[in-house]
């Protein structure tokens, strides 16, 4: 079906190739193969489907059709660079690589080329400081926000005090996994808990030692920073040692359906942070079904609607589309360019009312981006896996992270980056 469609599109493109269509281009550097495909596929589907919906239902954004050229990275930085170079000439408005490694790769490149990059809940945390990182955005929350939200949730569970409690951080031994350490250490000072660090080397197929250690030391909470096969194994091992699952809290990249399903009933009660709602109980999914899935235009097989990663991809697309609207409003043109896109992103305001209009009431936190603050509100919720119903259930409202502590860390890290690269602060 897709081949036919694509053939038709190609044919159409060839016949009217000469006048370049003014389109809004959102390259999707996706990974549908390799060790992390399980997370990459539904995200890419959600991202593509939302733009297809806008095209089919509204005729694009502000009258301009959208286009989402996909490029397979397999979560590999070299292929990511190839994809970036291959797509940037097309008039790309925004990049969302969904990989911390590729993000670090692209930060200098997009800054030199002047194309905004949105790393939603991943990437370089200190990019939240818009004064230093002109082109990089990571609203609505970053790794450090997630760490803080996890601590806050633990505080809630303990009735307000973590004094003398112990928390173990089980993390992927890479740049990604080491991100929360600093924040958790700062927060340990503030709240008086003991932090134990337990690294797991990639890929994380074998974690017996680590879980025996957890079983010996019996930390009150296990915070979890995994990705790929490490997620499934950790949740299985936690079930094996009968660790109380509601004290086992993962970051938002360790809390999707493929992570918990292999462990079956054992995963029941496992928690993770998230910054979007899950499930299909939002009006927008009716539109998606009618305009996209039923017409056979869905990027995937239409099965993943409502899954955590799908919704996240859709949310990312929604934020990008809203930023385009804002940019169109500011500059008064419909065919915006990358620099105008950045202005749109820096003025982005997604209110609860707006989300209601879009058919996604309370789907994500209210987002407000400014020139200084590229990190949005720093909010997230805690969701819990219900194994019998096979779905994630949000058990809290959006929690505000401890931005006081985090902002200090962000300023410190971004100042170091600015000094290293000779960047002058902007927005003054």
């Amino acid at each position: 079906m897709r081949l036919k469609k694509l053939a038709a599109v190609t044919a159409a493109a060839i016949t009217m190739a000469s006048p370049v269509m003014a389109e809004l281009v959102f390259p999707s550097l996706s990974y549908r193969t390799g060790p992390f495909a399980a997370g990459g596929v539904p995200f890419a589907d959600g991202y593509a489907d939302y733009f297809t919906l806008l095209n089919e239902r509204d005729g694009g954004i502000g009258g301009e059709l959208t286009r989402v050229p996909e490029c397979e990275t397999a979560y590999n930085t070299e292929k990511g660079v190839e994809c970036y170079e291959a797509t940037k000439g097309d008039g790309a408005l925004i990049y969302q690589p969904l990989s911390t490694g590729i993000t670090y790769q692209l930060i200098p490149k997009v800054s030199a080329d002047g194309i905004p990059m949105h790393t939603m809940g991943y990437g370089r945390t200190s990019a939240a400081n818009g004064k230093v990182f002109e082109w990089i955005f990571n609203y609505p929350g970053n790794y450090w926000d997630s760490a803080s939200i996890m601590v806050k949730h633990a505080l809630d569970m303990e009735g307000g005090s973590l004094e003398g409690k112990s928390i173990a951080l089980l993390y992927h031994n890479s740049a990604y996994g080491k991100e929360p350490i600093r924040t958790l250490e700062e927060l340990a000072e503030k709240h008086g808990y003991n932090l134990t660090l337990i690294p797991v080397d990639s890929p994380g197929q074998e974690q017996k030692s680590q879980w025996l250690q957890i079983r010996r030391e019996k930390p009150d909470y296990v915070f979890f920073w995994g990705w790929g096969v490490m997620n499934q194994v950790a949740i299985q091992e936690a079930a094996n040692i009968r660790y109380p699952m509601d004290h086992f809290i993962g970051v938002w990249w360790s809390g999707a359906e493929p992570d918990v399903l292999p462990a079956g009933d054992g995963a029941d009660g496992y928690k993770s942070t998230n910054f979007t709602g899950t499930g299909t109980d939002y009006p927008i999914f009716d539109d998606l079904q009618t305009y996209v899935v039923d017409k056979g235009l869905a990027a995937g097989d239409g099965q993943s609607l409502g899954q955590v990663q799908y919704n996240r991809g859709m949310y990312a697309a929604m934020l990008a589309a809203e930023a385009v609207r804002k940019a169109q409003e500011i500059h008064g043109v419909s065919a915006i360019n990358a620099a105008q896109m950045r202005d749109g992103m820096e003025a982005l305001e997604v209110t609860a009312a707006r989300m209601e209009e879009l058919g996604m009431p309370n789907f994500g936190p209210e987002v407000n981006v400014t020139c200084e603050n590229h990190g949005g509100p720093g909010m997230g919720l805690i969701q819990q896996w219900d194994a019998s119903a096979q779905k994630w259930v949000a058990i809290t409202d959006y929690i505000q992270s401890d931005r006081e502590v985090i902002n200090e860390l962000i300023m410190e890290d971004s100042a170091a980056y600015a000094a290293e690269n000779g960047i002058e602060e902007r927005c003054n």
Partner: protein, 331 residues
């Protein structure tokens, strides 16, 4: 007993169990290396492929459905039936036999008498090929593998050993899946030994392993033996795939377990079945104890390299591995 000692004992026990799982993968390598002198890098991917096929058959997935749907615009995914585990395992074993035949027919036959490194590279090519085919056939998502094996800590053992230590001691932890794996590995090794000692084909197998040309001259079909040995290796891969796949779900990373088996091979010797078992146990215990005692001092996550360094040190003193055949060099 002091708790620290109990913990060390527990780590050792779990190390032994982990070692058995490594041995299962290493066994496949040894079988092929013995019979044909090929270092089969594709063993890990074979385990992945076997596990994928098993799940696919069990759930009645349509092979190549994604490709078919893309070309013909159809919407097929499942046949709509499920196959009982035992039958699915047998069917998968049959698929692995077909695979072994294909490997012999299309790859090995053309590479007879080539240097070892060429054969090694061919198996890496094979690994790429099978990874692609596996993904095309069954899709790249994570699949839950359930053939009814028990999982989770053994509660009986925990309750009956808790009195050994103080208040904080919960009793020994052993995963029931690991126990099953150990039993299966034992049965596998015993039956392989019996097969190679007492059956006609088994004796032919050993003759080929000993000397290709002499075996040929007494009328043993080398090609049949190779198909046989790759089939057995395929079956061993299936068993390893089931064990590891039950733990983590069936997904791409399953193919990386080959890397866990390599130090086992070095230590045990490329040509020895008991070596693969003993090597696996030593590596399993060694890396777990190292992580337990030394890991906290150097920041943990030592397991990936420790096994290799252990094997390396060992080899410096015994270059042919623990049970490997003595290397005799002539000019």
């Amino acid at each position: 007993m002091p708790d620290q000692l109990l913990y060390a004992l527990e780590v050792t026990l779990n190390g032994l169990m982990a070692g058995v799982l490594y041995s299962l993968v290493a066994l496949g390598f040894v079988l092929i290396f013995k019979a044909s002198g090929i270092f089969n890098y594709a063993q890990g991917v074979m385990a992945l492929f076997a596990a994928l096929t098993l799940v696919g058959i069990q759930e009645g997935q349509v092979p190549f459905s994604h490709l078919i749907n893309a070309i013909f615009g159809t919407e097929i995914h499942h046949f709509g039936w499920t196959v009982p585990a035992i039958l699915a395992i047998m069917l998968t074993a049959a698929v692995m036999v077909v695979f072994a035949w294909a490997v012999e027919r299309f790859v090995l036959k053309h590479l007879v008498n080539q240097p070892d490194i060429i054969l090694f590279m061919a198996t890496i090519g094979l690994a790429y090929f099978m990874e692609g085919v596996g993904d095309l056939m069954w899709g790249a998502d994570i699949k839950k593998l359930d053939v009814g094996l028990p999982q989770g800590g053994s509660i009986w053992l925990e309750e009956n050993t808790a009195w050994l230590g103080g208040d904080g001691f919960y009793g020994f932890f052993i995963d029931r899946l690991d126990i099953v794996a150990t039993v299966v590995a034992a049965i596998l090794v015993i039956s392989l030994t019996l097969f190679s000692q007492y059956s006609k084909q088994g004796r032919a197998l050993r003759a080929v392993a000993d000397d290709h040309q002499a075996a040929l001259s007494v009328g043993i079909s080398l090609r049949f033996i190779w198909v046989l040995v790759w089939s057995i290796a395929g079956f061993v891969a299936l068993v390893a795939g089931i064990m590891w796949g039950t733990k983590s779900g069936v997904q791409f990373s399953l193919s990386l377990i080959a890397l866990k088996a390599l130090p086992v091979l070095m230590l045990g010797g490329f040509t020895s079945i008991p070596g693969a078992i003993v090597g696996g146990l030593i590596i399993g215990v060694g890396e777990k104890l190292f992580e337990f005692f030394i890991g906290p001092m150097v920041g943990g996550a030592t397991e990936n390299w420790f096994a290799y360094v252990l094997a390396l040190l060992f080899l410096v003193f015994r270059p042919q591995g623990l049970f490997g055949e003595k290397i005799i060099e002539r000019v």
